[in-house]
């Protein structure tokens, strides 16, 4: 186990940008291309070692981070010129024949998906409650018990209102962004998730309008990431098991 064929993306058959990442080439089949490169396998195999420090934030020189960044860079280099279907990280193929078989077995399916994402880029949007001005310090001295409770109740009600308004605004923002997108995908829900965390597949022409929507929601702190290759929109599993002996 030393060198293997790492696959990064499916794209249309074209000449790869010579200024792209070195070592990357295209395996072609009937108008489709599989973006591959020979890679050292040892760094991949070592990724699972040392699970003890996994809760810590990986640094940029963490082996996983370096390999993941490279994957993203290769996919992006192709994506600059052609539509791509990014493959899941760490796809190592047996050999070049295997790559050809993958394209042959799934030619139509892959071509359809490429048409679907062509001319689109993925954008991520995260929205949180915009932090309001800190509530004015209310003097509590000299207040009667009833007055104090009334004041506190008022402040708590205001906080609840802010939260509720945030959720409503986030739903409206999602609706507004979706109008400019061909497709949207909620991101994985986590505890303490933002009000909105979603990815959008946006046609190139609609990008200015998509981005402009954010200005209409000053009550939210919106963070936009992208443009991304359509990672979140290729929910596709290509199997070669059934056709192994066809």
């Amino acid at each position: 186990m030393s060198v293997g064929l790492c696959a990064y993306a499916i794209t249309r058959n074209h000449v790869l940008d010579p200024a792209g990442p070195p070592g990357v080439r295209l395996i072609e089949h009937r108008g489709l291309g599989l973006v591959v490169a020979e890679v050292e396998l040892a760094p991949f195999a070592e990724l699972e070692k040392d699970p003890a420090h996994w809760v810590n934030e990986p640094s940029e020189d963490d082996p996983l981070v370096m390999l993941a960044r490279r994957h993203d860079i290769v996919v992006r280099a192709v994506f600059e010129h052609q539509p791509v279907l990014p493959l899941r990280f760490g796809t190592i193929l047996r050999d070049e024949q295997a790559a050809g078989r993958l394209l042959a077995d799934h030619h139509d399916e892959a071509a359809d998906w490429l048409d679907r994402v062509a001319g689109h880029r993925e954008w991520g949007a995260r929205a949180r409650q915009a932090r309001p001005d800190k509530p004015a310090e209310t003097p509590t001295e000299g207040l009667s018990g009833t007055e104090y409770l009334a004041m506190r109740r008022g402040l708590l009600a205001a906080a609840a209102r802010t939260r509720r308004d945030g959720s409503t605004a986030a739903a409206a923002l999602h609706e507004a962004l979706s109008r400019h997108a061909t497709e949207s995908a909620p991101r994985a829900r986590k505890s303490g998730a933002p009000l909105l965390d979603a990815a959008y597949l946006v046609p190139a022409g609609a990008e200015p309008a998509f981005r402009a929507e954010i200005e209409r929601f000053p009550e939210l702190a919106v963070e936009i990431t992208g443009p991304w290759p359509p990672y979140s929109f290729v929910r596709l599993e290509l199997s070669t098991e059934a056709v192994a002996h066809a």
Binding site: G4, A7, F44, A45, L47, E48, P51, W54, V55, N56, E57, P58, E60, L64, V65, A68, R69, D72, I73, R76, F79, L85, P86, L87, R88, F89, G90, T91, I92, L93, R94, A98, L102, G124, R128, Q129, R131, L155, L156, A159, T162, R163, A188, K190, G192, A193, P194, T225, P227, W228, Y231, V234, L236, E237, L238, S239, T240, E241, A242, A244
Partner: protein
């Protein structure tokens, strides 16, 4: 269109957790992606928590969330107590060593 500025969590989440999956005999399973994804989730969960502390201010503001104030206090106490237990264990260990015939 340079992706180097994208946040690490965003890149990892997409590269590790999304994309076309190839299964079958043409691929070699050299990396346990499930395991890596688990690592990713652990990291993102902690990063998210840190971020939320700053952004969703009210959830940690003792005034707006009285429960939170209590919880923080308890967390501090637990930490202190844990420290003292470690200290005691250390002292106890030293005592035992002293007491043992050499």
């Amino acid at each position: 269109m340079d992706g180097s500025g994208s946040s690490l969590a965003d890149v990892l989440e997409r590269v590790l957790d999304k994309g076309v999956v190839i299964v079958g005999d043409i691929a070699i399973n050299i990396v346990d992606i499930e395991l890596l994804t688990l690592r990713l989730r652990l990291f993102i969960a902690s990063a998210q928590t840190a971020k939320e502390m700053g952004m969703d201010w009210w959830t940690n503001d003792p005034f707006f969330s009285p429960q939170q104030a209590k919880r923080t206090l308890e967390a501090n106490e637990v930490e202190q107590l844990r420290g003292r237990v470690v200290e005691l264990e250390r002292m106890l260990g030293a005592k035992q060593l002293e007491g043992e015939p050499s």
